[in-house]
Each structure stands twice: as structure tokens, then as C-alpha cells.
């Protein structure tokens, strides 16, 4: 930082000191003002007694006390302030209030844009109303209303150049074109598959914007994994709140004998669901440090429970000899189960200090992975049997592919975990494997969403 010539150097020192003070979460704006006023009074007093300005600054700062001790005292007196971390924009850099305000405006603008975007098709006769069935157009395009806006937010926030931004528009444009020009049979399997897989494929584009286009730079991808998990947590929390709001809307208008259904189904839920994605992302971005502990805590809680579930399930299957009944719902269910297991492994990895030695929890993770592998093998066998008996359908092939992808991931993870537990390899290898594997999910999802429909004749 270079000082303008007409500004005394002590002003820069004070500005720096103030910036340090601002970073302390327990000390808020007016307190910083008050403390700065004190510092200036002390400076004036010391220079009046004959000290040079820079000497006076040193003495005054020393008398003020160490910032650590000070913020500890403030935290003790103002413990209620720490919750604010949840809603106030970042204060880690020397960012002024205006930057935070700009971000708030951008976020609100994007959230409103997402909420309005979902209403645009209604202008063309595709109405969202409780009386009609949901037009399949909405299911196919759900992610296209909000993910481009979320990408815009990260392009803006990370300061990506326009060219990269335009490249990122490509996958969305492709998704929009294919999802809408394919002549799907209404309610057909391929249409459902496209609707389910397109968001997963496009999430990778959001990830590219999130890591500032530097997919392979250090730590970026892991941060994106954390972001995705915490976004899910925040989103669920917001959705719960939205549910309460919906309940009250019904209740209050019913009390004056009016039916609020058209508003709730046509506006509140679709607009809220879209806007909430942006708001939740912003909350995660703004205050990562607070909830950062949420995903790991959930991981610790559910790893043992899922391990028990899988082991009990395997034991029951072995005991009763009942085969897995292959239906669409069951196939999706087993795929989701494996996704949860991969998620547990991923978040355990993201929260772990890579240099820590193996402990009991790592052994438990290995047990989880191995039992998931066993269940996956059984599900695969069931799907393969079904295919050899009744031939290929889009659902079975999609489920088969997803199963294989997860099987490869879990198999290799199990091997790396075992090596790590025997002290043969550092934990970082496992983490690298998990993050290197991330694009595979999206690429397969893109494949299912875009290639399956023509291959299977849009049925």
C-alpha cells in the first residue's frame, strides 16, 4: 500500500490497525470507532508531550493491549455477537462495508431473477397450478432456471474474465437445447432420466466457476465438495422454514375462507425453491467457517449408523436368502445408498487433517466402504440378471452404469484405506483419488441425459 503524499504515515498505520481490529468477530463497527477514537486521543496526548508520531503510535498501540486479549474480553462481554457471523458478509479481507453491500445486492438480484425465471414459461402457457399436472417441461429444465444464475454469481464473485464466463455458458446452452428439442414421449423413461441427470452434469460447470476455472489448483475441488455439502444442509434448513411459511399461509387464508393454493403452488414454492439456491449458496460462501463443522459432524454421526444398517442388511439377506427385487424404485434406492456412502467417505476425507495418524474412525470408514461394496455387488448381480433375462432398458443401463462407477470408486477407496491403516500410504492419496474422481459422475450424468434419449428412441 502506498500512501498519498499529503497523508501522514501514521494515518496508514491507524488504518492498518483498524483493519486488524475489524477482523475480530467479537468487536463490531461502533466498538472499532470507539477504540480508534481512544487511540487517536492517546496519540494526541503523547505527541503533545514530545514524542515523534511513529513513536507515539507504538506506545499507544502497546497501551491498548494485545488484540487477542482484547477480542477475548470483548467476546466474553458480547458473546451474543458471535451468531452474527451467520448473516453478515465476509470480513476476512480489508473489505469495506460497501463491498459487502454490493454483494448483498448482487445476491438478492440473482435470487429474484431465479424466482422470476421460473415464472417466465407461464407467459407461454405452461402454467404451474394445483389443478393441472406439472408440465414435464419444468422437470426437464429445473436446473436451467437457477444454475446459470448461480454460475454468474461465482463468475462475478471470483472475478472470472468474460471469455471463461462465455465458455461456461456453453454447457448450459447445450443442456437447454437438448432437453427441449428431443422428441420425448411424455412421461417416458428417457425423459425422467434426462430430468434427473442434467443437474448433476451441470453442477460441474458451477464447480468450474466456483474454483475460478482452475480445476486442478490446490484445494479448490475439495472446497467445492465442502461447498456442495453445506449448500445441501443450508438448503434443507431454508426449505424447512419455507414449509412453516407455507403452512401459515394456508392456515391464515383459510381462516378468512380463501384458498391460497394457487399462490402457494404457483408462486411461493417454485419461486422460493429457485431463489433459495442462490441465497443458500451465498450463506455458505459468506460464512463457511461457522457451519464448516456441520458436514463433518453429520458424517461422524451417520458413518456408524450406516455401517450398522449395511451389515444388518447383508446378514439378513444371507440368513433369509431373499433376492433383491429389481424395480425402478429399488434400483434408484440402491444407487442413492451408494451415493450416500461415497458422500460419507468424501466428507470424512474433507474434514480430516491429512497428517493425522489412522484412528478408530478410519477403521470404521473402511468397514463402511467394504460393506457398501458387498451390497453394491449384490445389486449389480441383480441388475445384470435382470438385463440378461429381459434385455436393456434405459433405466437398467443407467442404474448399471452408476453402480459400476460407484463400485470402482469404493473399490479403489477400500484399497487405499487399507493401505493407509497399515501405514503404507498417506491419507492424502485417498483424498486425491476422491477429488480426481469427481468429474466422472458429471460426465456419466451428461452421457445419460444427452445420449440415452436418442439411443433408446426417446421412449
Amino acid at each position: 500500500m502506498t500512501a498519498p503524499a499529503d497523508r501522514p504515515p501514521v494515518e496508514d498505520q491507524i488504518a492498518q490497525w483498524r483493519a486488524y481490529l475489524r477482523r475480530r468477530r467479537a468487536i463490531d463497527g461502533p466498538d472499532v470507532e470507539e477504540l480508534e477514537g481512544h487511540l487517536r486521543d492517546a496519540l494526541a496526548g503523547l505527541t503533545a508531550s514530545g514524542l515523534a508520531e511513529d513513536e507515539a503510535f507504538l506506545v499507544a498501540v502497546k497501551r491498548m493491549g494485545s488484540l487477542d486479549a482484547l477480542s477475548r474480553e470483548f467476546a466474553r462481554e458480547h458473546s451474543n455477537r458471535l451468531w452474527k457471523q451467520l448473516v453478515i458478509a465476509p470480513d476476512d479481507a480489508e473489505e469495506s462495508g460497501t463491498a459487502a453491500r454490493t454483494e448483498t445486492l448482487v445476491v438478492l438480484g440473482l435470487a429474484v431473477a431465479a424466482a422470476l425465471a421460473i415464472k417466465v414459461p407461464a407467459l407461454f402457457g405452461l402454467r404451474l397450478s394445483p389443478d393441472d399436472e406439472l408440465p414435464p417441461f419444468y422437470a426437464r429444465n429445473a436446473s436451467l432456471f437457477v444454475l446459470p444464475l448461480l454460475t454468474v454469481y461465482f463468475v462475478w464473485k471470483r472475478g472470472l474474465d468474460v471469455v471463461s464466463g462465455l465458455w461456461l455458458a456453453l454447457p448450459f446452452a447445450a443442456g437447454a437445447v437438448f432437453a427441449n428439442v428431443y422428441p420425448f414421449r411424455t412421461g417416458g423413461d428417457t425423459e425422467v432420466l434426462t430430468a434427473l441427470h442434467l443437474p448433476i452434469a451441470l453442477w460441474l460447470a458451477v464447480g468450474f466457476a466456483y474454483v475460478r476455472g482452475r480445476w486442478f489448483a490446490d484445494g479448490g475441488r475439495m472446497n467445492f465438495v465442502r461447498f456442495s455439502g453445506e449448500l445441501a444442509i443450508y438448503y434443507v434448513l431454508i426449505a424447512l422454514g419455507g414449509g412453516v411459511l407455507t403452512g401459515f399461509t394456508f392456515m391464515m387464508f383459510a381462516a378468512i375462507e380463501m384458498n391460497a393454493e394457487w399462490f402457494v403452488a404457483g408462486w411461493l414454492i417454485p419461486c422460493g425453491a429457485m431463489g433459495a439456491v442462490i441465497i443458500a449458496s451465498w450463506l455458505v460462501e459468506a460464512k463457511q467457517s461457522v457451519i464448516e463443522n456441520m458436514a463433518p459432524v453429520l458424517t461422524r454421526l451417520f458413518t456408524p449408523l450406516f455401517t450398522i444398517l449395511l451389515l444388518v442388511f447383508l446378514a439378513t439377506m444371507a440368513w433369509t436368502g431373499r433376492p433383491i427385487d429389481v424395480e425402478r424404485g429399488v434400483l434408484i434406492g440402491f444407487d442413492l445408498l451408494l451415493v450416500v456412502v461415497v458422500g460419507l467417505v468424501l466428507y470424512a476425507a474433507s474434514a480430516r487433517r491429512p497428517e493425522a495418524p489412522p484412528d478408530f474412525f478410519d477403521a470404521l470408514q473402511l468397514l463402511l466402504v467394504v460393506s457398501a461394496l458387498a451390497v453394491d455387488a449384490l445389486a449389480l448381480a441383480a441388475i445384470a440378471a435382470r438385463i440378461s433375462e429381459f434385455g436393456f432398458t434405459p433405466n437398467r443401463v443407467a442404474a448399471l452404469g452408476e453402480n459400476l462407477i460407484l463400485l470402482v470408486n469404493l473399490g479403489w477407496s477400500a484399497r487405499l484405506y487399507a493401505r493407509f491403516l497399515r501405514d503404507r500410504a498417506p491419507f492424502a492419496v485417498l483424498e486425491r483419488w476422491q477429488i480426481a474422481y469427481l468429474p466422472v459422475y458429471s460426465i456419466w450424468a451428461a452421457f445419460v441425459a444427452l445420449i440415452f434419449p436418442p439411443v433408446f428412441g426417446y421412449r
Binding site: D31, E34, G37, G45, R63, E73, E77
Partner: protein, 112 residues
């Protein structure tokens, strides 16, 4: 001679209240007054005064108001409240009791 940490902490409340009982004041002036009154024996870390003031404000023993100072900056002025004065009187009696007790035993030690 420097006072122990606990004693400094314990004396902070009555001292701040007593100084504010002399008239409205602000942080820097309060610190200066403390140094002046104690002849330099009571050295506070300047910043630590503010959490104390904020606690007193929360307990409604003092009230605070921002207003412009003579150098043009906004400054937070503190004023003792009625409850503050009552609290000061109570603290004064307590410290008096401590002082009397100690004085008694030290007088005895001197004359023995």
C-alpha cells in the same frame, strides 16, 4: 508497585462508577483520570476498559451516547445512572468494610 490482576479487575467497577459520578466522561479521559488518581500505581491496559464500560452499560449502571467531540470526531460519552449511583454506594460500603478489616489487623500488627 503494581497491583495484582485480581485487585485491578475487582476495583474497576467502583472506580469507573466513581469517576463517572464526578461527571460525564469518555474512555480515554477515564483512563487518564485513573492514572492520575492512583499516582500511576493502577495501570490498566487501555483497551480493557471498554468491555467493562459495555458491561456496565448492559447492566444499566451507566448510559452511553455518541456525540461530537471538540476535535470533530464522534465520541461515545458515558453517564452514570440512578442505579449506577446506588451500586456505587453499595460497593463503597463493601470496600469500606474490607478496608476497615485490613486496617484493623495491620494496626494490631504494628502496635504488637
Amino acid at each position: 508497585m503494581d497491583l495484582g490482576k485480581d485487585l485491578v479487575a475487582a476495583s474497576a467497577t467502583p472506580l469507573v462508577l466513581a469517576i463517572l459520578a464526578e461527571g460525564d466522561s469518555y474512555g480515554y479521559a477515564i483512563i487518564k483520570r485513573v492514572t492520575e488518581l492512583s499516582g500511576g500505581h493502577l495501570q490498566w491496559t487501555d483497551g480493557m476498559l471498554y468491555p467493562v464500560l459495555h458491561r456496565l452499560e448492559r447492566q444499566r449502571l451507566v448510559s452511553a451516547k455518541w456525540s461530537a467531540s471538540d476535535n470533530g470526531r464522534q465520541r461515545k460519552y458515558y453517564r452514570i445512572t440512578k442505579e449506577g449511583r446506588a451500586q456505587l454506594a453499595a460497593q463503597r460500603r463493601q470496600w469500606q468494610a474490607v478496608d476497615d478489616t485490613l486496617r484493623g489487623i495491620w494496626m494490631k500488627a504494628c502496635t504488637a
